[in-house]
């Protein structure tokens, strides 16, 4: 990783940055950190981009309103040239304006349409009133029919004939729910001096003002005089009744009605044409919408980046600073050349100049989709310091393995593997689905981790011989029941004889164990045993200790690798050696004892078998009793050898505590004698290391470190390591604890739920099994797979972060975040 300076011609700058964005391997530094974002050079361009984005968002909402599909482009378009930006702006402006116009027109037309519809209904109904009145005029009808209705009409007509001019009327439309109140109000206000007729409009019509569909009623109010007219008008306004003028002359009414009909037909045609036009515009837009959005995003990103540059007026160029991996410098040069050519510059091309600095570069790991997930797990605790060992390749295997040791059920492992396989095989189609569901994105992002966890779980499940809490007997058990029938009848339970040869020197020995262990995993007989847990506790605890110490030792050797890489020779002798000797003396010795006990003591000597925990404690306390046989010495020279080991281990403590500070003191004295030395300290032998004037304020003051700081730091490291050795070893016992919990939960689910259905006979049993499967399977998924899985995941992660990585990992770096269009577009959440 090197710091580079780019000198860009202003005209070529845009296309160069565009090429670098496509390449995606440089991280730009902000050279104007104190400048307000409104005072930067390209703030206008950024503002224009934001305006374009706003217009695109508006277009997108309109497209979504009409539920048109938006076409997703296969590959991302390149960033457009600067002149293209003006074209894009013009296009968006035109579309925006057009769409707004269409919308306003459509609204106006719709309102007009609704008013005319109401008017039409109005005319039809009032036509009915006046027709009745007309009919009443013919005398023959009049004399024969005597209902009150006709009376009213006759009365009305006679009255109107007499004082034709004075009887006024108002027609209008009012919502049906307000009709009763309207009538009552009219009656009260006008003191009964108005005459109201009403007819309901059968269908729902849209209110012109509010746009909702309501039931409405047509009414006509007859009154006499100006005052009443005013009152009626005010009441109509108050009840939001729409008043429509209605001519008295029947001819005029008919003409008006026909005019309204034609206008309505015209309006319908115009409305549908407007909608078609809108659809066409939106459909055309939807095809290009995503492409435009990507282009605008890229332009904005380029101008944001260019805002970080330093504008050198004297040399008439832009200066940029960026971090770039050394191995990619050729590609970057190529990209710069391409950019300069693309912008039509036959003149000076852009220049890349490597700078040297004492600053710590960002940490960059080359990853692919498989390793990315595991790197995230490691980075969540801390990003690796520049150039130290990345634990990820090791975590890739040990994390799923330790998870599997705690999860250990082949049946559950198969379910997890199937789920992970589905996610992995359907990667492409599932990548963009459900992007808003955070839980799903977490699971999907970790699909490879889950796949490995599942595969290892199947393996550990086979070794634990646990498939949904049942054992498989593939190779034949090594145990047989050789008790006589009378013994079996006398006792409730029997314990099988573990020694595979006659040690009793009497005749009643029967061999029940074949002497050969079950080839793969735990013998199936233990599933039926009452003392299964006692047996498996022993082996799981021992394995947990073995794997824990092995992993910690492995971590120590990684720290050795780090020391060798950074050329810290002194650290090897003053830190690594005491650490490994301490670990070996106490804990590697313990592992050897475990293997010795496994191979040397069988059932005949069961009471004499040493308890390793007691021996470890006695070793540290220097107490060697002979009282219980399990605490007695079991090999010659044990006391002397163990004393020697403990003394050696105790020696390591001051070795590590005092070693490094004394070394520092000696080095400081040597340096003081030699005078101020300019060349690099032993610590940072980065080969590209020279002084950089501009960044001298960030120089490492390593040769002037406070001694008190060194003492304190070393004291902390020493205590942390030695206490940690013991506590971390015990911490690995969680591998045993969680696997026990998982096995017990699984067994409980079987015995309490599934067994109920499976143990019933006949047809009832079949039906019961069917019903019992649902609670069993849902509890399996939610408790055992999800809850236990999450728990085992968390504990395995903790074991790696704390117990493993504390042996070698510093994690004080910062991540390399390159300027990459692909990253930019991937991160943008899809507005679904």
């Amino acid at each position: 990783m090197t710091l580079c300076q780019l000198f860009l011609q202003p005209d070529a700058a845009y296309s160069c940055i565009s090429e670098l964005g496509e390449l995606g391997i440089v991280q730009f530094r902000d050279l104007n950190p104190n400048v307000n974002s409104f005072q930067r050079k390209y703030v206008n361009e950024v503002r224009r981009c934001e305006e374009m984005e706003r217009k695109l968002r508006f277009l997108e909402t309109e497209i979504k309103k009409d539920e048109l599909p938006i076409y997703d482009p296969e590959d991302n378009p390149d960033a457009p040239k600067p002149r293209e930006m003006i074209d894009l702006e013009a296009t968006f402006e035109k579309l925006d304006h057009e769409l707004k116009e269409i919308n306003t027109n459509a609204d106006a037309l719709l309102r007009n349409f609704n008013e005319l519809t109401e008017l039409k209904h109005n005319l039809t109904m009032t036509q009915g009133f006046f027709d009745d009145a007309e009919m009443a005029f013919t005398p023959a009808h009049n004399r024969n029919q005597r209902d009150s209705d006709d009376d009213q009409v006759q009365l009305l007509y006679e009255y109107s004939m007499i004082s034709h001019n004075k009887l006024g009327f108002i027609t209008g439309v009012v919502p049906r729910e307000r009709m009763v109140a309207f009538e009552r109000m009219l009656w009260r206000v006008c003191r009964g001096n108005v005459f109201l007729r009403q007819a309901e409009i059968p269908e729902l019509i849209e209110d012109p003002v509010s746009g909702e569909k309501l039931h409405k009623t047509v009414f006509v109010v007859f009154f006499q005089g100006e005052q009443l007219k005013n009152r009626v008008q005010k009441i109509c306004e108050g009840f939001r009744a729409n008043i429509y003028p209605c001519p008295e002359n029947p001819h005029e009414r008919r003409e008006l009605a026909m005019g309204v009909m034609t206008r309505l037909e015209d309006l319908t045609v115009v409305l549908s044409q407007t909608q078609d036009h809108r659809q066409r515009v939106l459909a055309a837009t939807s095809r290009n919408l995503r492409t435009w959005q990507i282009k605008v995003k890229k332009i904005k990103a380029i101008y944001h980046t260019m805002n970080m540059f330093n504008n050198d007026v004297a040399r008439k160029c832009l200066i940029a600073e960026c971090w770039a991996p050394v191995s990619e410098l050729d590609r970057i040069q190529l990209a710069l050349r391409k950019g300069s050519e693309a912008s039509g510059g036959g003149t000076v091309s852009s220049v890349l100049n490597r700078m040297v600095t004492r600053e710590q570069p960002p940490t960059h790991h080359k990853l692919n989709k498989f390793t990315q997930g595991f790197q995230n797990l490691v980075d969540a605790y801390g990003v690796a310091t520049y150039r130290e060992i990345n634990p990820m390749p090791f975590v890739l295997i040990t994390f799923p393995f330790l998870f599997a040791v705690m999860f250990g059920d082949a049946g559950h492992g198969i379910l997890v593997t199937i789920f992970a396989l589905w996610m992995v095989l359907k990667e492409r189609s599932l990548k963009d689905k459900w992007r808003n569901q955070e839980v799903w994105t977490i699971f999907f992002g970790g699909r490879y981790i889950i796949l490995l966890m599942g595969i290892f779980s199947i393996y550990t499940g086979i070794i634990y011989n646990d498939v949904f809490s049942k054992s498989l007997n593939i190779f034949g058990s090594s145990w047989r029941v050789r008790f006589g029938d009378d013994t079996l009848a006398k006792h409730d339970s029997v314990m099988l004889e573990p020694t595979p040869y006659n040690y009793t020197r009497s005749g009643d020995y029967r061999q029940m164990f074949s002497g050969t262990p079950y080839p793969i995993g735990l013998d199936p007989v233990w599933q039926l045993a009452d003392n299964k847990i006692t047996y498996t506790n022993s082996v799981k605890m021992k394995f947990a200790i073995i794997i824990g110490i092995t992993q910690m030792g492995f971590g120590l050797f990684l720290s050795l690798w780090n020391h060798l890489h950074f050329n810290h020779r002194h650290a090897i002798y003053l830190e690594f050696l005491p650490q490994i000797i301490f670990l070996a003396c106490i804990f590697f010795y313990l592992i050897i004892l475990i293997f010795y006990k496994w191979t040397s003591f069988d059932g005949s000597k069961a009471t004499d078998a040493p308890s390793l925990l007691i021996h470890l404690i006695n070793m540290i306390l220097f107490s060697y009793k002979t009282d219980p046989p399990s605490a007695a010495v079991f090999y010659t020279g044990q006391k002397q050898f163990q004393t020697f080991l403990i003394l050696l281990a105790v020696l390591c403590v001051p070795w590590m505590l005092l070693g490094k500070p004394i070394y520092r003191i000696v080095m400081n004295k040597r340096r003081a004698n030699r005078g101020v030395v300019l060349d690099a300290d032993v610590r940072d032998t980065d080969t590209e290391d020279m002084l950089d004037d501009e960044h001298s304020h960030q120089q490492h003051h390593q040769h002037e470190v406070e001694m008190s700081e060194v003492w304190v730091e070393q004291g902390i490291h020493t205590i942390e390591y030695f206490l940690g050795c013991i506590s971390h070893t015990a911490s690995y016992l969680r591998l045993w604890a969680l696997s026990l919990a998982h096995a017990q939960l699984s067994e409980v689910l079987w015995h309490m739920i599934l067994h109920l259905g499976l143990s019933m006979n006949g047809y009832g049993g079949a039906i019961a099994s069917f019903f019992v499967f649902m609670p069993w399977s849902s509890l399996t998924v939610f408790i055992l797979l999800l809850m236990e899985g999450l728990s085992a995941f968390l504990h395995a992660l903790r074991l790696h972060w704390v117990e493993f990585q504390s042996k070698f990992y510093k994690g004080e770096g910062y991540p390399f975040v390159p300027f990459s269009f692909r990253l930019l577009l991937d991160e943008a959440p899809v507005e679904a």
Binding site: L396, L488, A489, D523, A529, D530
Partner: protein
């Protein structure tokens, strides 16, 4: 003793092939080192796991305690020959 060592040899050779021999056969490519690491670690972990369970069952200090009902069933199902 012989039957004990058969399984031991089989599994050691199996995981040894995967963890020690196979890494040399991985073709050159950008992922060679990663795959070698993965194979070696996987075989080491899995072999160690198998070994611990195998050794623990070689010389058991006590036998399984089975209820008499189950014991009688096993007598019939598994027979008496070891």
């Amino acid at each position: 003793m012989e039957k004990f060592s058969i399984s031991l040899i089989v599994f050691t050779v199996f995981w040894g092939l995967i963890g020690i021999v196979l890494p040399f056969l991985i073709p050159k490519g950008p992922h060679r080192r990663l795959i070698q690491t993965m194979l070696a670690l996987t075989s080491a972990c899995c072999w160690l796991f198998w070994l611990c369970f195998y050794l623990h069952q070689w010389k058991p200090l006590f036998g399984p305690q089975i209820s008499s009902v189950d014991a009688r069933a096993l007598k019939v199902l598994w027979g008496q020959d070891l």
